[in-house]
């Protein structure tokens, strides 16, 4: 039986569930007139995993930041081991045994993996920092996470997923009693998630309490002991593991059932819209292999193609090269019959080829601009007449985008940083869709967006496909391959290792990617 709660109500705690180590009592947080949390009660049980579900902007990250001392609540209190506490900053919380993996990476790109892991907690030896010891511990952590990341590599040279691993390793390196993980796996592949889960089980068996947030619901279900659903800043549901399933979560989260959709039908596929011929891309960092290796691919108008692969398969490089960011060393890219290899990014966008980049913070958003300005950034030409932009036309375009991709924001003038992670992602997608592309490429478009939004984005893409848009998206979640894609392409080491139609099984896809089908 699942229990439903009114806003502000306290969850019933079953004595079987284990002792509550950390709890939020009636915690509220407002930013001006935005009420991110409206009086939430939340318990963390010793040695168990509590999962927090909720739509983008529901207040999950806000609650976690309060529990870990990053921000202070407007009202309400935090109870640690039965005693009320207040944390002035995250260091105080860390000293009390609470550590957090942030949703948005917080690493110093200029420093090595080792230095990032021990940032602010350097191990001191006789003559300054004991680098050898730090490195040793760092290697041990990496071994535990089954990652081959050299401790001396600068973080900026790592792929996003690897950076996330570093972030995880840092949290693990603090021997904390309570570990909060805010979407730790958004850039990880299934294998790595497995490893992480192994680590989590290990930790819980040692009595460490975990809070886990993820938009990958199936994945979260594997690990959770308790589920809590947050909606619009209030807690709407709680249930122990035994009583929850996917349907329960979705119902409580978005209030309706969801479906990632099925390949759009009933329209004839058009001519080949994008054709990639023998494309070869050398490693951008100068290593002597090709990250994309003589790859050929045709996509027809109205077709939806999914590219699946493990981290490092070269999907990002493929898409960035087609978009014009990286230079190919060989091969050609043909858009609607015209060779475009020599064109700039801007010219490709003008011809109808758009890319939604993988890393929204670094490549997607202009933090100094408002939500509206970000949305209209790629399509300025469409509302410029003569020398000047036309405010009305721009406003109409922005409003349409906000509606289309359902961005939850206080308005177009809001700062982009005030949006929740998932809504930021939607802005990036909306920005590129606003250019009215003929071919759109999305690199991991579902990263960090909630299940409802994901469904909406896929629905939107499917509808656009019906109108003749060619869609290519990459993903690291097998489930997403089997949604709207007509065709699934698996990449491995820069080449296409397999190609399937939409009736294939998950196992086959994973096998082709070189992934062990353990889960």
């Amino acid at each position: 039986m699942s229990a439903q709660f009114q806003s502000g109500a306290r969850p019933q705690t079953d004595p079987r569930l284990g002792e509550v180590v950390l709890a939020a009592r009636n915690v509220a947080k407002s930013y001006g007139n935005v009420h991110a949390l409206k009086g939430v009660n939340f318990d963390i049980h010793r040695g168990q995993v509590t999962t927090l579900f909720g739509e983008n902007g529901a207040g999950k990250s806000t609650l976690m930041k309060i529990l870990s001392g990053v921000i202070q609540p407007t009202s309400g209190e935090i109870v640690l081991d039965g005693l009320p506490v207040s944390f002035g900053n995250s260091t105080e919380a860390r000293d009390r045994g609470i550590s957090i993996i942030h949703q948005e990476l917080s690493l110093a790109p200029n420093l090595s993996v080792r230095d990032n892991i021990f940032m602010g907690r350097e191990i001191m030896g006789a003559s300054g920092v004991d680098f050898a010891e730090e490195e040793r511990q760092c290697r041990k952590l990496m071994a535990e996470l089954e990652e081959e990341i050299d401790p001396l590599t600068p973080v900026e040279d790592l792929r996003l997923g690897q950076q996330q691993i570093v972030e995880i390793a840092r949290a693990l390196s603090v021997d904390s009693r309570i570990l909060i993980m805010d979407e730790p796996t958004s850039a990880l592949s299934a294998t790595e998630v497995e490893v992480l889960f192994k680590v989590i089980r290990d930790l819980t068996s040692k009595g460490v309490s975990i809070v886990y947030i993820s938009h990958h619901l199936e994945e979260a279900l594997q690990i959770t002991d308790h589920a809590v659903v947050l909606r619009d800043g209030t807690m709407t549901a709680y249930a122990p593991r035994a009583e929850i399933d996917l349907e329960w979560i979705v119902r409580n989260m978005v209030g309706e059932n969801y479906d990632l959709g099925s390949p759009p039908e009933g329209h004839a596929l058009g001519a080949v819209a994008l054709s990639v011929r023998d494309l070869t891309v050398p490693d951008p960092k100068g290593a002597d292999y090709n990250v994309v290796d003589r790859l050929s691919l045709d996509i027809r108008a109205g077709e939806v193609v999914c590219i699946y692969g493990l981290m490092g398969a070269g999907r990002t490089e493929l898409l960035e090269t087609v978009a014009g960011r990286l230079r190919a060393s060989g091969g050609e890219v043909v858009l609607e019959g015209r060779e475009i290899s020599h064109l700039s990014i801007a010219e490709r966008i003008a011809r109808g080829l758009a890319l939604v980049p993988e890393d929204r913070q670094r490549d997607g958003l202009v933090q100094t601009m408002s939500v509206g300005e970000n949305l209209s950034l790629a399509s300025i030409a469409s509302f410029t007449r003569g020398l000047f932009t036309r405010r009305k036309a721009e406003r109409a375009l922005i409003d349409a985008s906000i509606r289309e991709v359902t961005v939850k924001t206080s308005g177009p003038a809001a700062a982009i940083g005030s949006l929740s992670g998932g809504n930021q992602q939607k802005v990036v997608i909306g920005k590129m869709l606003a250019t009215k592309p003929r071919v759109i490429m999305l690199d991991e478009p579902s990263r960090g967006i909630d299940i409802g939004a994901k469904a909406e984005v896929f629905k939107l893409l499917a509808e656009e496909a019906k109108r003749g848009l060619a869609v290519v998206y990459s993903t690291s979640e097998v489930g997403e391959c089997l949604s709207i894609a007509h065709r699934i392409i698996v990449m491995h080491k820069g080449r296409i290792s397999a190609e399937f139609d939409s009736t294939v099984s998950k196992e086959k896809i994973m096998a082709a990617s070189g992934e062990s089908v353990a889960a």
């Binding site: 933090q367 601009m369 020398l387 700062a415 005030s418 920005k431």
Partner: protein, 346 residues
């Protein structure tokens, strides 16, 4: 990442215009305070004629500051403005003295409009050199413009052998009079230089707020990679802003040498600092992407009105230095104290 910018934006919507006033508030209130204090201290300060005079002094810094604003919005910096100013003045001076064409054995006296056009072209070229070094050769802006600052200054010195061109009024029989018009004349009682500044400020303001280029500029200053992927021609934007800054420095050089009716190679030394200070006092962030023409103008007026005021009330020049420094800090400080967290980014 999210929580840094937040507090601001939450307030941003309802208090939109008020918020902007507050953001630029520091400069605005500082200006009011300066005018009030000096008017109280000297009867000669609060007069129309004095304001016009002071405005004509501000014009030079203001024109440079507009160019600097563009560069700073782009996330760069331009240390060469003072040198370009001097070089342009000197070149204009040389052109007014006549260009000897040895091949033909004649001396050409270009008319004033041609001098202006040629000088601005020169400024644009030097600015473009900055831009190309920075955009194509990836030389950090500070280094590129520092180098160009030295080179331009050196060339100006070499051209004149350290001396100053004096007679820029031209001669009627050569048909090249009118150079001093810029600096000396008034339209409807307002000095031409002030009008030039207003014109430039309005154009720049329109460009920033209404044109696609303005949007590109803010975007590439805020996040160059994201702007690039959104189809913003980031390299072109960069070269353009440095070119514009070069042109504006040349204009400032013309205005200045016309005000002085002379052009020397050491003019404009350290003006880059004044221009940058005006931009920063006006609320722009040196990291790029934030700033307005309005703020920059306020910043320029704060600096100009302050230094003129100190002279008018007869403060000793040492104290002037101290006050200038203190007011610059205070003007910006006021903001931090009052609106606390809002300014994290700059």
């Amino acid at each position: 990442m999210s929580d840094t910018t937040l507090a601001r934006s939450a307030a941003a919507k309802p208090a939109f215009s008020l918020g902007r006033l507050l953001l630029e508030g520091r400069a605005f209130f500082a200006l009011i305070a300066i005018v009030a204090v000096f008017s109280f201290l000297s009867p000669n300060y609060f007069t129309v004629s004095n304001f016009l005079i002071m405005a004509s002094h501000v014009a030079i810094y203001g024109i440079l500051a507009v160019g600097m604003l563009l560069v700073i919005l782009n996330g760069g910096i331009d240390l060469s403005v003072g040198s370009i100013l001097a070089l342009s003045g000197v070149v204009a001076g040389a052109l007014m003295q006549g260009v000897e064409l040895p091949a033909l054995g004649v001396i050409l006296y270009p008319p004033v409009w041609a001098v202006v056009v040629l000088t601005c072209t020169l400024g644009a070229l030097v600015g473009a050199v900055n831009g190309v070094l920075i955009a194509w050769f990836k030389v950090p802006a500070f280094v590129a413009t520092l180098g160009v600052m030295y080179v331009a200054r050196g060339v100006a010195l070499l051209m004149t052998n350290g001396l100053t061109y004096n007679n820029l009024s031209g001669r009627p029989e050569l048909g090249n009079t009118g150079f001093d018009w810029l600096g000396f004349n008034r339209l409807a009682g307002i000095p031409i230089s002030v009008l030039v500044l207003s014109g430039i400020a309005i154009l720049a303001g329109l460009m920033l707020s209404r044109s696609a280029f303005g949007r590109w500029l803010y975007a590439s200053g805020g996040n160059e990679r994201a702007a690039d992927l959104s189809g913003v021609p980031v390299k072109r934007v960069k070269i353009t802003v440095y070119t514009l800054s070069g042109i504006l420095s040349a204009v400032a050089g013309l205005v200045l040498s016309s005000q002085l009716t002379s052009a020397g190679p050491t003019a404009g030394t350290t003006y880059e600092l004044t221009a940058i200070a005006a931009v920063v006092i006006g609320g722009a962030a040196l990291t790029g992407g934030r700033g307005t023409v309005r703020g920059t103008m306020l910043g320029a007026f704060v600096i100009g009105f302050l230094s003129d005021g100190l002279v008018i009330i007869g403060v000793s020049s040492y104290w002037q230095t101290v006050f200038t420094g203190a007011v610059i800090v205070l003007a910006v400080l006021m903001n931090s104290i009052q609106y606390g967290k809002g300014t994290r980014k700059s």
